[in-house]
């Protein structure tokens, strides 16, 4: 088993995604961390100036929200899957609902259906009020049991 798969397996068992996130450069670049709160996986993108897309509002770059939603959907699949899977995103659809303020973004995801080959995941992002999402996403991913 490769070092990456070992780390994924350990993260699933312990619920501590820190070591896995530390291995993924892009997650470090965005500043993504993951917590498990009452058996729910919650992703956080820590605000930093490099995430800004429109400096005059200022607002987060929409692409970073898409990337965050996509990442947390993948981690949700890793977290919930009965066997060790490596999700490969096929399609990502993002709806932008409100502009992202210069602050942390939280994301949660829910598996709508996990099939043998494909899983569908819904993810939503918010800042200070969970009932006012700033963006939502649907992700379909190939899930290959390892």
């Amino acid at each position: 088993m490769s070092a990456l798969l070992k780390t994924i397996s350990a993260a699933r068992d312990s619920g501590d995604f820190g070591p896995l996130l530390a291995m993924i450069p892009y997650c470090q670049f965005l500043g993504i961390s993951l917590d498990t709160i009452e058996d729910q996986l919650v992703g956080r993108m820590k605000f930093h100036a490099d995430l800004i897309g429109n400096p005059t509002i200022p607002a987060l770059h929409g692409g970073t929200l898409g990337a965050l939603l996509e990442s947390v959907a993948q981690f949700e699949l890793l977290f919930r899957a009965e066997s060790l899977v490596l999700p490969k995103v096929i399609t990502l659809t993002v709806d932008y609902l409100r502009s992202g303020k210069a602050a942390d973004v939280l994301v949660q995801a829910k598996i709508v259906r996990q099939g043998r080959r494909v899983a569908t995941v819904h993810a939503w992002a918010w800042q200070d009020d969970k009932s006012r999402p700033i963006a939502t996403a649907n992700v379909t991913a190939l899930v290959k049991a390892l």
Binding site: A59, T64, T91
Partner: protein, 162 residues
């Protein structure tokens, strides 16, 4: 809104799209082609180890391609509008057709093929080199005239117009 004397100046456009958009700059995105008829923007995302999603293969994270596609689609909308109007992504759909090859830059090409009073419609694809199989395709819609200032506003860029 559209000005007849609109001239595509890549240096000035890059000042707006890259240098004054912190995240585009952090990604190293550069506008390499721009036309207004058709309204097409082409951007290069340089391969960078910090954007890798799988440390064992060196393949770029899909999120980096998502962000590059969003930025390129936005640039195509500005080219369609030919005016410093603020815009916001309304929705964006990406299909990942195949993994990017490690070590190679990704080129995104977006065309804004329709605009109405409020909404602009864009399609895009990403590839390594012209003529090669696409890595991803995208479809997006953008709201026109949202609050805030456009990336090429003189008060933002310190330069008039584009």
């Amino acid at each position: 809104m559209a000005s007849d004397d609109f001239v595509v100046d890549l240096d000035a456009l890059n000042a707006a799209f890259r240098d004054f958009v912190p995240h585009n700059k952090a990604l190293g995105l550069t506008l390499i082609e721009a036309t207004t008829e058709p309204a097409v923007a082409v951007m290069r995302l340089p391969y960078d180890l910090k954007l890798v999603g799988n440390p064992e293969t060196g393949v770029l994270h899909g999120g980096a391609i998502t962000t590059a596609m969003d930025a390129t689609c936005g640039a195509a909308v500005f080219l369609k509008l030919r005016a410093p109007v603020p815009i916001a992504t309304l929705d964006l759909r990406l299909d990942y057709l195949q993994q990017a090859e490690p070590g190679r830059d990704v080129i995104c090409r977006a065309e804004c093929f329709k605009k109405t009073r409020n909404v602009a419609f864009v399609r895009a694809h990403a590839f390594h080199a012209q003529g090669e199989e696409p890595i991803a395709t995208a479809t997006g819609t953008f709201m026109i005239s949202t609050p805030g200032k456009a990336v090429n506003d003189p008060s933002v860029t310190g330069k008039p117009g584009w």
